[in-house]
């Protein structure tokens, strides 16, 4: 054993602004992938519950693939896989597509559970008051579903932030990718990754803290 390695934190600290900027990219791509993922997830859940057969099958296929293969595999699909069809996405879109695909698959299952957890009688009560189907859905059913899926949704956002670090492998420079690029240029790999680990930790804690605050403000029942 030899301990002749000396830690050099100064170069990392000098690049800290770059890392922080890259973490904004991480947040941006994670949040965007969540927004699109929620939209697709809702559509997938509804198609699985009462879509026409072929569409329901496609939705099921999407959900099961997203849940039963590694996220990295899904990224590879959007880079090499689509490449085989002559479709070459930029690293940014590879990561965005991969994250969105994964988010939508997991969220679809959460949404499906949420819809099933709201009793059918709620719909019946709303209709008996003269509300239209649309009003009953938007005013009565969806707000209740939203509360049920709120925590799984926050978890998925955290997961999206963590998962976005796979961008490092496909060459997109969000926080992990930026860290790797800087680290391998200077060979202060440990120092860079230690600081980045800390940034991720803080990001995750802030997201969870904020979500708890929002939940406390929003769900009074």
């Amino acid at each position: 054993m030899n301990f002749d390695y000396t830690f050099h934190w100064r170069p990392v600290m000098r690049k800290l602004p770059d890392l922080l900027e890259a973490s904004l990219t991480t947040l941006q791509i994670s949040v965007l992938s969540m927004i699109i993922g929620i939209t697709f997830g809702l559509i997938l859940a509804i198609l699985r519950m009462n879509g026409p057969k072929p569409l329901a099958w496609i939705a099921t296929g999407w959900v099961e693939l997203a849940r039963n293969t590694p996220a990295l595999f899904q990224l590879f699909f959007f880079s090499f896989g689509l490449g085989a069809f002559g479709l070459h996405l930029t690293p940014y879109f590879i990561v965005l597509a991969g994250l969105t695909f994964n988010n939508a698959g997991y969220l679809a299952e959460n949404f499906r559970g949420g819809f099933q957890a709201v009793p059918e009688t709620q719909m019946r009560a709303a209709r008996s008051l003269g509300m239209t189907a649309w009003q009953s859905y938007t005013r009565i059913v969806i707000p209740q579903v939203f509360r049920i899926v709120y925590h799984p949704m926050t978890n998925q956002l955290v997961w999206a932030v963590l998962m976005s670090s796979l961008a490092m492998i496909v060459g997109f420079r969000e926080l992990a990718g930026e860290t790797q690029a800087l680290a391998f240029k200077t060979f202060r790999i440990f120092e860079y990754f230690a600081v980045t680990a800390l940034i991720y930790y803080v990001m995750v804690k802030v997201i969870l803290g904020l979500s708890r605050l929002i939940a406390w403000r929003m769900f009074r029942y």
Partner: protein, 240 residues
């Protein structure tokens, strides 16, 4: 006036209502009694169009409920419905529960809707609970909340589907008292119920259902005193 003519209802192969003929006049209180599965509740659902029918007709104030062109949402505002499971909306306060439909269905202003809601909650004795969420209310209070919610639409008819069956025994009384109050105020009511005391004391007429058929209908004294059908007699003997 509600007119039910030769009404047939099937669930798949199951023949649940076998030709029901029944008229309910304005101001009348009708109780429907009978064993579980005799079709009583289904009749209520068919009456306000929550269930489709296979044959016959339901006419409410001259409008055929199950005709294609009928605006069911508008028609339903005329018929308040209270369910066995009270179905209060858990994400809204008591006041919001009651104010929502007047606002979005009838297009009342927010303050108007809230005022109506406040009045109706006081009407059913929940004036001090307006800001509570349903999770903080007892079953009986939630059922009264459901009644207030239906009343806020200013219905001309109230349909009660075993409104007290899911309640703990000590909570039944407060809901029956509220229903009694409505009857005294002249509300037209159809009450599917297992509360024989209520049926006897409050109703103008009592109908007995047996296996999808209305076996007999008449004033409570006659139904409870000298039933003509042996099924009725047997049923009454069992529930006593």
């Amino acid at each position: 006036m509600i007119e039910i003519k030769e009404l047939h209802k099937y669930f798949g192969a199951l023949h649940v209502l076998k030709g029901i003929d029944l008229n309910v006049q304005k101001g009348e209180v009708l109780s429907i009694i009978g064993a579980s599965g005799s079709g009583k509740s289904t009749l209520l659902y068919c009456t306000n169009g929550l269930e489709a029918i296979q044959k016959g007709e339901v006419i409410v104030d001259g409008v055929s409920v199950h005709s294609k062109g009928t605006d069911l949402n508008k028609l339903r505002t005329k018929m308040g419905m209270v369910f066995q499971q009270w179905n209060s909306f858990p994400h809204l306060t008591a006041l919001e529960n009651v104010a929502l439909a007047p606002k979005i269905v009838k297009g009342k202003s927010k303050s108007e809707a809230r005022e109506i809601a406040r009045q109706q909650l006081e009407h059913v004795g929940l004036g001090d609970k307006i800001d509570n969420y349903p999770s903080a209310l007892s079953g009986g209070q939630q059922q009264r909340l459901a009644i207030a919610r239906a009343l806020a639409m200013e219905p001309e008819y109230m349909l009660f589907d075993e409104a007290t069956s899911a309640l703990d025994p000590e909570l039944v009384g407060e809901v029956l008292d509220t229903m009694r109050l409505l009857a005294e105020e002249g509300m037209t009511m159809i009450c599917v119920t297992h509360e024989m005391g209520f049926a006897r004391d409050v109703s103008d007429r009592v109908a007995f259902f047996h296996q999808g058929v209305m076996e007999e209908i008449g004033p409570p004294q006659q139904i409870f005193g000298e039933p003509t059908s042996e099924h009725t007699a047997k049923f009454l003997a069992n529930v006593r």
